[in-house]
């Protein structure tokens, strides 16, 4: 057995398992040992489900022996701790839920399990997915495998760090304003956020319902295609999940980029973007052009409004979504409450961290009588303008390309005192959430030894083009294969 199984992608592991090169138990065991060895310094996992993983792997090997292997049979992966997993702690990165053992599986978890995947554990995240650096987690920040003093991005920072450090070949994530793509960019991994409604939100603890979408962090576009094919599709338990056919995403990867119209957003290359990152992204665009893609400029005139719009809509929804955490039925409950009011105030006061409270208060304010029209309603109108901008742009191009994040990974603690600067980290990613569009980040270079990402956005249901574009780019480049030295 080779010593570097952990370097294999999901697709490669699947082929090896089919060939009988090694068993699901062997790869699972190896990854669990890697997690045990490395996670003390990374803090990527909140829960490691070792016994359950080994039992599932054993069943997967038996199923394979019986000739009944599912699409993901024996493939190890991790779930962001925002997805409910039956009988396993589902904390959402919060003290509020640090005692919450979910009584059911999220649809995403269920579909992966039914396809035979092996869950290694639950990954760390910003509290209730609110953050861009993984520093708001009750379980402490996650460290970037490329530089332990730096952030792996957020909110799916545990997932991105685990995949970058080769502790798991893939992990689920959720993306409300860039929470899959920004961490992927900052850790040199691939992050896919599907079209809103492509993947069921059932069992995914809600942050901002109209923006949240489940996706994956992987090491190749091919792996993302494999996983999307399993997690996508209609679910009657989510009214916003759309009954739209699920194509064979893997089969669609091999078509060349010849003639693909790639739009470059004029506004993306302005003052806010780090110069070195801009160069890396421009080099990546040149690679696409060499492969036959036709580059042109597109205009998204309202893009500068996306961050303020997002920070009205998302907190508004979160203020309501998080009302259920009241200490009455589940989660943290203050001890010895004097009365109902005291129970509410202290349970929530103790259970939620500062960033969550800031957003609940912002959201409560923008929905209040007298402010609703000026903030919430206005933000919804601007959101429509932003969506219209994208729609117009997609009349002329198939994919919009640009940087995923304005800078490479910043140091932990650098932006925690300045929420606005932190919020601006999502400036390139938020538009896709506001407009409900699919988007992917793929590694496209390094700046001072830190990975940066190329961001591709597609029209609704445009995942195939995004995955193909990223895959064809990865055939020409090896940025996505780079592994931080300590984890080789």
């Amino acid at each position: 057995m080779a010593q570097d199984l952990h370097l294999l992608t999901l697709t490669q592991i699947a082929a090896s398992l089919r060939n009988g090169d090694f068993s699901a138990c062997e790869i699972t065991d190896l990854l669990l040992r890697r997690i045990e060895a490395s996670d003390a310094s990374l803090n990527a996992f909140i829960t490691v489900t070792a016994d359950q993983a080994l039992a599932t792997a054993k069943r997967a090997d038996e199923t394979r022996a019986a000739g009944k292997a599912g699409a993901l049979n024996g493939l190890p992966l991790a779930h962001k701790d925002i997805f409910c997993t039956r009988d396993v702690l589902t904390s959402c990165g919060s003290h509020m839920l640090d005692n919450f053992v979910a009584p059911y599986d999220a649809t995403v978890v269920e579909r992966f399990a039914n396809a035979g995947a092996v869950m290694l554990g639950k990954t760390n995240m910003d509290e209730f997915a609110m953050g861009s650096s993984n520093e708001t987690s009750f379980f402490g920040p996650v460290h970037n495998p490329w530089d332990l003093e730096r952030t792996p991005g957020g909110s799916s920072g545990g997932s991105s760090a685990a995949v970058a450090a080769r502790l798991a070949p893939a992990a689920t994530g959720t993306d409300t304003g860039g929470s899959i793509r920004q961490p992927a960019a900052l850790t040199g991994t691939v992050g896919l956020k599907p079209t809103y409604g492509r993947v069921s939100r059932y069992g995914m603890i809600a942050f901002a319902s109209s923006l949240d979408q489940a996706g994956v962090i992987t090491r190749s576009a091919e792996d993302a295609a494999l996983l999307l094919g399993v997690m996508a599709g209609f679910d009657a338990r989510d009214s916003t999940c759309i009954d739209h056919p699920v194509p064979d995403y893997v089969a669609g990867l091999s078509t060349s980029l010849n003639g693909l119209r790639v739009g470059i957003v004029r506004q993306h290359f302005d003052a806010g973007l780090d110069g070195q990152t801009a160069l890396a992204v421009k080099a990546a665009l040149a690679v696409l052009e060499e492969q036959g893609a036709i580059l042109s400029e597109v205009d998204l005139p309202n893009l500068d409004l996306s961050v303020p719009t997002y920070y009205v809509v998302a907190p508004a929804e979160c203020s309501s979504n998080l009302s259920r955490f009241d200490g009455v039925r589940f989660g943290h409950r203050a001890s010895d409450p004097k009365d109902l009011f005291d129970l509410y105030c202290r349970s929530r006061g103790e259970g939620f961290g500062a960033e969550v409270k800031r957003r609940i208060m912002t959201g409560t304010y923008v929905l209040s009588a007298g402010y609703y029209d000026a903030y919430y309603l206005k933000a919804q109108q601007v959101r429509q303008l932003i969506a219209d901008d994208f729609r117009k742009a997609f009349a002329d191009v198939d994919v919009i390309a640009g940087p995923t994040a304005p800078t490479p990974a910043f140091k932990l603690g650098d932006k925690t005192d300045d929420p606005i600067t932190m919020y601006l980290n999502d400036i390139y990613t938020i538009g896709a959430n506001l407009a409900g569009l699919p988007a992917i980040s793929t590694p496209c270079g390094f700046v001072a030894g830190l990975p940066v990402g190329l961001h591709l956005v597609g029209p609704p249901w445009g995942e195939e083009a995004l995955l193909r574009c990223a895959h064809q780019y990865q055939l020409q480049t090896d940025w996505h294969l780079a592994c931080p030295e300590a984890y080789r």
């Binding site: 059932y202 338990r237 989510d238 929804e317 955490f325 009455v328």
Partner: protein, 494 residues
Amino acid sequence: MKPAWEVVIGLEVHTQLATRSKIFSGAATEYGAAPNTQACLVDLGYPGVLPVLNEEVVRMACKFGLAVNATVAERSVFARKNYFYPDLPKGYQISQYELPIVKHGELFIQGDDGSDKRIGITRAHLEEDAGKSIHEGLQQFSGIDLNRAGTPLLEIVSEPDLRSAKEAVAYMRKIHSIVRYLGISDGNMQEGSFRCDANVSVRPRGQDTLGTRAELKNLNSFRFVEKAINFEVQRQIELIEDGGTVVQETRLYDSDKDETRSMRSKEEANDYRYFPDPDLLPVEIEKSFIDSVRASLPELPDAKQQRFVNEYALKPDDADILTLSRALADYFEAAAAAGSASAQVVANWVLGDLAAALNRDGLEIENSRVTAADLAGLVDRIADDTISGKIAKEVFEIMWKRGGSESPTIPVPAGQLSLAGQIIKELDLEQISDTSAIEAVVDEVIAANPSQVADYQSGKEKLFGFFVGKVMQQTGGKANPGQVNAILKARLSK
């Protein structure tokens, strides 16, 4: 002189829709289950769960909208009403706010002046019910039962068109009758399936602007609606006449003390921070759906009342009462069809002895111990002079005690005795219509009471009843009353 004050009332009627499962989950809605046994993860507001709209609820709201001549909205939107309460699991109630499913309806009641009065229905919207807090028997704690959480409600809001407690009750009864006709609610007020809030204000007669209103909460019987409004009207008038002002507030009616008292003022009212629920898509209703619902509508109370007057020549007031409930109307029609007596006589029996017996035993018409066919059989025996009305009352009581036939609405086949017929035969209750037999008894009575005969013949005509009584006594009440009267008159005048 007209009173100086005009009363203005608008009602918000909350009616529980009779679906099998909840409005946004698959949990059952049955009443009376053990606490928290009919609440699934969605009803409990667990992290990660999502609501999915029950289509039947939309159909029922549509039915109501069409029945009150309203507009069924092509597009309606569920919103979140945010507030904290232990029996509100999500911290918000899913309701409809700016875009309700039904708007601009109307119905007609009998106004205080006796004429038909139009009452506008502003809107009717769908929402989920909350759970129930239990404060008794748990020492210093309160319990939460979430069985009711997520039960579908239709909230029907009237225009402030009602001018008295009596009109308010008439309106509420009409809504009650309509929802039961439509089969969209059981209308059970004891179980809380049908309750209302009343917005009450007063103003000097002739003034256009409305007075400040108080909202009376959770009135769960017709009687309480009337009493609560009357109390509140009196309170407001006295307050103003004493130089005070009415404050806008929510008040609770205490039926034990028959008074309303303040729950919270406008200043203490919640800011509900309504916004469209991002977990649910707007409800879009196609015309074909509305057409299919329209085709399924039953005959409604007003139309049925009109038909009863035209088809059965009933007194309008009787037709009104008979059509208040679909079951009662059906009973009447079955009885009228099963017999050959006049429909008005059947109506008299239904509204008289039958209603009294139901009331006495606390039964609904559906559980009547005398079936429509059996009642028809009885009324027919009066019509064909087999028994008198008085004996019929006895037969009815016996029928009531014995309970009904197996096929409640099918007339007794020709040649067979109806239940009434059997009882009459068994107990030998058939009327004596044989003239010579009655003459013989009359003669006996006259012979036995010479002094009364003398008094009668000297002008004390009131004694006639005495003779009738004696004859009836001797015949066990079975003598044909008409014949008894005629024969006595003839004999006494000799």
